[in-house]
Symmetry: C2
Subunit: 258 residues, 2 copies
Amino acid sequence: MAGTDRTKESEWAPGPVVILVEPQMGENIGAAARAMLNCGLGNLRLVRPRDGWPNPRAVASAAGADAVIAGARLYGSTAEAIADLHAVYAATARDRQMIKPVVTPREAAAQIRARIADGRKVGILFGPERTGLTNDELALADTLLAVPLNPAFASLNLAQAVLIVAYEWFMAGDDTPPYRLVTNQTSPAPKEELLNFFLHLERELDACGFLRNEEKRPSMVRNIRNLFQRADLTEQEIQTLHGIVTELANERVRRKRV
Amino acid sequence: MAGTDRTKESEWAPGPVVILVEPQMGENIGAAARAMLNCGLGNLRLVRPRDGWPNPRAVASAAGADAVIAGARLYGSTAEAIADLHAVYAATARDRQMIKPVVTPREAAAQIRARIADGRKVGILFGPERTGLTNDELALADTLLAVPLNPAFASLNLAQAVLIVAYEWFMAGDDTPPYRLVTNQTSPAPKEELLNFFLHLERELDACGFLRNEEKRPSMVRNIRNLFQRADLTEQEIQTLHGIVTELANERVRRKRV
């Protein structure tokens, strides 16, 4: 039965457990499981899901993230669900009149990674869809977690809130470069090949009269070279451009002969 | 009719336009509109939505984000939808065999804010739910945008992809502090009040014998002081603690007399 297999938590790379307190709709539980798995999180705990457990609707909407649903642990209270954890973050959408630290998901991700690196167990609480966590439940947590959103319209559903928190977790440990030029099997062209192309192009532009204005020629040449510099041309693309220039020039010559 | 009111784009704070190409389900368009509005984006463009436009399903699922739906502009082709834009990012989930730069949503957000500050118009393309954008459509864009996700399970739906991109946009311009201690109407206690509490507590702990071990007393006192230092106590909380110590001590004295 889902929730009793204690070994499953170790199958996932170390990460925070996601705890849904009194989730109302099975579809939302499934969607939350998918959001988690997209971001490399697999440990789900459920406190008193409204429609009981297991829940076929949760399984159906978790399509692909079945392992997360299958490994979900069931608890009778929030206190029990967090008993073994060393740090608990509680997601909240609205201001609470309590003295507590509040962090953004980005900051939480950094803190959680540090705590887990120290061997601590960490959990993140999400409350029921429409009402959120109670103040008593927040008092069981160390830190509140609030997603910065448009103050005029802040309305994430449960799975979206889980997604953003999980996404920040993933980003905090991911080394995808912010910018990458995909070049497949070719390489960027070294400057010598770029210059050869410039000279070829300028030779043809001189021949057809495009650069006939001697006074403006130097700046026009620079403008054209700067344009092509920004294209991050590959060796293959340089060859293509040589061919384009040659064929256009040949066509012009052919037209003159006719 | 939605899409013809050209003034609506100026009602929103400057931001990228979100362009959904051949979106299939009205519910997804509505969900995307909500995702946008959560993050302060309001300009939506639609290219050949499968079920036509307007779409009551989109309106229904956009509940709260009606203004985004109502202001959505309709186009017959992707080329027309991006004609007035200076920079276009195209969201893609899978590797493409084309020479193009690829950025993360976080990098895209930084670039987009810079371009918009320079007065440029920017758009972000999202393709149909199951197939994504075609290579021909990608060739109309400058930069590809890929969300870093769990390589073993990368499966965001349309609204979730829009949400993550929009969320990074919002975060790039948001000044919410990563960490904040909410203290409501009280203030953190100055060190003098903290020390007064320590002395009160230690006086009572001496009286009841808790600190009777002279050799260990200095380190025990330090441990207790360090513990309370970590609580970031407010002035009101110091008063509460004084009361707790006093009442516990009085109860002990009362019990002795009985």
